[in-house]
Symmetry: C2
Subunit: 421 residues, 2 copies
C-alpha cells in the first residue's frame, strides 16, 4: 500500500480527542434521536449499495491476487443480500431498548440525601476486527445506540469496503443530527495503528477485539486499555447418569456439529460412567461425520474412535472433532471443566434437578446450561437483539455483550444543603 | 529485614492456586455461614488483642527507629479503641446483605429456554495497601462476605501487626468452617512481591490498591491484572448564579475543610460570574483557615487571595488550600471540570432544578452531587455499609465499591432439550 507515512500517536490523539467530544455530546442524546440517526445510516448504506459493492470488489480482487484462502475470501465478500442484512442489522439496533438513563437503584439516606445509580455510556469504544466488513456497521451502530463514540479499526484487506460503509454511516448519522466524530474509522492500513490503539490510555475507554485467536491474544497481551474479549470457547457438554438418552444424543450432536466454527460449539464431551448407554451418542456423532478422540476406555466403546493425546483436553478444534472422556459423576465433570475449560459455555444434560443445580452453581463459566445445546451461546439467542462479542473475563460484563455491556453508571446525589458532620 | 530469599513467582503461584481452590469453595457457601465465620473472626481479633497490640508495638518501634513521620506513625498505630473498631467493622460486614445469588434479570425465550443472570463472586481478589493494619481485617472481610478469596499485601512497616491480625482472622474463619485459603497474607516484605502480584494474570482476578498516589500509580502502570482504583480526587464545587448564598457558603466550607486529606474533599471552587455575592463564601473559607488561590479577577475580591498558577487547576491539594475560578455559567463549569477533573466527585449548588439536571447529566464523574458537600463521597455515607475503595475508572464498578462491586454475574440457561436450528 503506497500510503504517506503517518505519525500514528498524533493521529490517534486527534481521533481520540474528536471521539471524546463526540461522546460528550452523544451521552445526552435522547433515544429517539439516536434511533432515527441509525435509521438514516441504514438508508445511507442502502443508497450507497453500488459504491460499497464496487469498493468490495476492489478488496476481493486484491485478496485474490494476494492468494487469500476461500474462507477468508468468503468473510470478506459482500453481495446484495449481505449488504441488505447489514443495513437491516443497523435498523434492528435502532429498535433495541436504550439502557442509557435506566435507574439501577435508588436510596434515600437518613440525612435526606437521595442517591440514584443511573446507566450512562462508557465513552469511547475501540473496536478492532478482521476481514468481515459488516462489523463496521454493526459495531458502530451498537456503540452509538449505547451513547458511545466508536473508533473502528478493520482488517487491511477490507479497507475499501470499510471506508465505503463508514462513509455511508457517517453521512446517515450526520443527517440524523449526531456529532461528526460519533463513528470514526482508522483510515491507515499500517498495522502499527493497532498498537497505538492498545496504548491509548485516557483516549479509549474500552477495546473490543473481534476476530481470530491471534488478534485477540495480541490485544489481551499488549493492551493498556481495558479489554472485553474471549480468547477461547473450550466448551464442555456433560452427560449425567440421569440424562434422558435421546435428549442427550440430540443435544450433543447439535452442540458439536450444528456449526463447528462458532465459539459456542462443544469441544469436549464428558460422559458419566454411570450413564447407561453412551453408544448411541457416539454413533450419532460418528454417523454425522464427527471425528472422536478418547482414551483406551472410550476407544473400547467403538472401533472408530481415535486416540486422544494430553493436548486434546485443552484444544478448541472449531472443527468436526470432539474429545470424549468418561468421568465419575458430576463433581468429576466440574473438576475437569475447572482444569481445562475457558470459562465460556458449559452444559449439563440430566433429568435430575439437584444435580443440575449443583453443576450450574459450581461451574465458573460466563454461561452455564442445563438440557440445552451450547450453540445457544449467542446474544441474539439470548434476546439481546445483537451482540458486540462474548466476554469470558470476570469483570464488567460476562457472556454475550450488547447495549448494556457498553454502558457504565454514575451516582447522582441530590441534596437540600446537606453538609457532612 | 533478614529473610530467606524467596522465589516470588513460585510463592505467588502457590498462593494463587490455594486461593483459587478456596474461592471455588467460598462461591457456594450460604450467607449465614459466611456471616457466622466473620463473627468468629471478629471474636478472634478481640481475643488476640494483647498479641496484636504487642506486634503493633514492634512495628511502631521499628518505624520510629527508621524516622517515620507523625502522620505515618499515626496510620500505623493500633490501640484498644482502634482494635475494637476493627473487630466491630468485621462484624458490620457480616451484617451486610449478601449480593451473591441475587437474580439481576430473568427472561423466557420463545423456544422455552429460561435465562437468569445471577450474581456470583469474582474469584480471587488481590489487595495491596500501605500502613494501616486495620485494612487486613476490613478488606479480608469484604472479600470473603462477597464469596471471594483474598490475597493481601500490606505495607512492610506494618508486617508484624498484619501477621497478628491475619492469624486471628484465619483462626476465626476456620472455626466458622471456611476454607483455609480464604484470606492469605503475603508474608514476605520483599517489595518485588507487589510486582509479582501485578503480573499474576490468571491467578488474581482483580487488584485493588489502597494507599497513596505513588502506590496507585505504580499499580495502574504495571498491572497485567484488572485494577479497581482511583488515583486522584480532583473534585469541584460549582456555585451557580441561582445558588442560595448561605447554603453555598456552608456547603463549600464543609466540602473543602471538614477533612482536607480525604479523596472526597473539594479542591477547586468554581463560581458563576452571575452569582451575586461570592465574598461571604471566600471569607468563610479564609476565616476557617483556608488558603485561597485565584487569578487577578478572583484576587480583586479579597486581598488575602494568593495568585494561582496554571498548575493549580490540576492540583489535588489534600490540604487547606483551594483554587477559585469565576466562570460564565454552568456550561463553562462543566467545560472546566471536563478539562481538569479526575472523574471522582463534582457538585453543583443551585436552587434551579433544570440547571442542576443539566450539570448532573453532563459531568462525567463517578459521583455527581446537587446541593450537597463532596465530602459525602464515601461508601458508608452511601449506605453501602463499608467500602473497599472508590473507583474512578469507567468499567465494572464506579464510585464507592462495596460487596456488589466484588461480584460479577453468570448466565444460567435452563432448557428441556432444546437444540439450535
Amino acid at each position: 500500500m503506497n500510503e504517506p507515512k503517518v505519525n500514528l500517536t498524533e493521529m490517534l490523539t486527534n481521533i481520540g480527542n474528536t471521539a471524546r467530544i463526540a461522546a460528550q455530546g452523544l451521552a445526552t442524546v435522547p433515544t429517539t434521536l439516536k434511533a432515527a440517526a441509525l435509521r438514516h445510516a441504514a438508508a445511507a448504506i442502502r443508497a450507497d449499495g453500488p459504491a460499497i459493492l464496487a469498493a468490495n470488489a476492489q478488496d476481493i480482487a486484491a485478496a485474490e491476487a494476494n492468494g487469500l484462502s476461500g474462507a477468508m475470501l468468503d468473510r470478506l465478500r459482500l453481495d446484495v443480500a449481505r449488504l441488505e442484512a447489514t443495513a437491516a442489522g443497523v435498523e434492528a439496533v435502532a429498535g433495541l431498548p436504550d439502557p442509557v438513563g435506566d435507574v439501577i437503584d435508588r436510596a434515600e439516606r437518613p440525612n435526606g440525601l437521595i442517591l440514584t445509580r443511573v446507566r450512562v455510556p462508557i465513552g469511547v469504544i475501540g473496536i478492532i476486527y478482521e476481514s468481515r466488513p459488516n462489523v463496521t456497521a454493526d459495531a458502530g451502530a451498537l456503540a452509538v445506540m449505547a451513547g458511545n463514540a466508536a473508533i473502528l479499526r478493520g482488517g487491511s484487506e477490507a479497507i475499501h469496503s470499510n471506508r465505503a460503509i463508514h462513509a455511508a454511516m457517517v453521512r446517515g448519522l450526520a443527517a440524523g443530527g449526531l456529532p461528526e466524530g460519533a463513528v470514526q474509522l482508522i483510515q491507515t492500513t499500517d498495522r502499527a495503528a493497532v498498537g497505538a490503539m492498545l496504548a491509548a490510555e485516557g483516549l479509549i475507554d474500552l477495546i473490543i477485539p473481534r476476530g481470530g485467536k491471534s488478534l485477540v491474544a495480541r490485544v489481551q497481551a499488549e493492551a493498556r486499555v481495558p479489554v472485553l474479549a474471549h480468547l477461547d470457547g473450550l466448551n464442555h457438554s456433560y452427560v449425567d447418569r440421569a440424562a434422558d438418552p435421546a435428549m442427550a444424543r440430540d443435544i450433543v450432536v447439535n452442540a458439536k456439529l450444528r456449526r463447528t466454527g462458532v465459539c459456542g460449539a462443544t469441544e469436549t464431551l464428558l460422559i458419566d460412567r454411570g450413564f447407561a448407554d453412551p453408544l448411541p451418542i457416539l454413533t450419532g456423532l460418528l454417523d454425522a461425520g464427527c471425528e472422536l478422540r478418547g482414551d483406551a476406555e472410550v476407544r473400547a466403546l467403538h472401533p472408530a474412535i481415535l486416540k486422544a493425546n494430553d493436548d486434546d483436553w485443552d484444544t478448541e478444534y472449531l472443527d468436526a472433532i470432539l474429545s470424549v472422556k468418561l468421568v465419575d459423576g458430576v463433581d468429576a465433570a466440574i473438576a475437569h471443566i475447572a482444569a481445562h475449560g475457558s470459562h465460556h459455555t458449559d452444559a449439563i444434560i440430566t433429568a435430575d434437578e439437584p444435580t443440575a443445580d449443583h453443576f450450574l452453581a459450581r461451574v465458573d463459566s460466563a454461561i452455564v446450561m442445563w438440557n440445552a445445546s451450547t450453540q445457544f451461546a449467542d446474544g441474539g439467542e439470548f434476546g439481546l437483539g445483537a451482540e458486540i462479542g462474548i466476554a469470558t473475563g470476570r469483570l464488567h460484563a460476562r457472556g454475550p455483550v450488547a447495549l448494556e455491556g457498553l454502558t457504565t453508571y454514575k451516582w447522582i446525589v441530590r441534596g437540600t444543603g446537606q453538609t457532612r458532620p
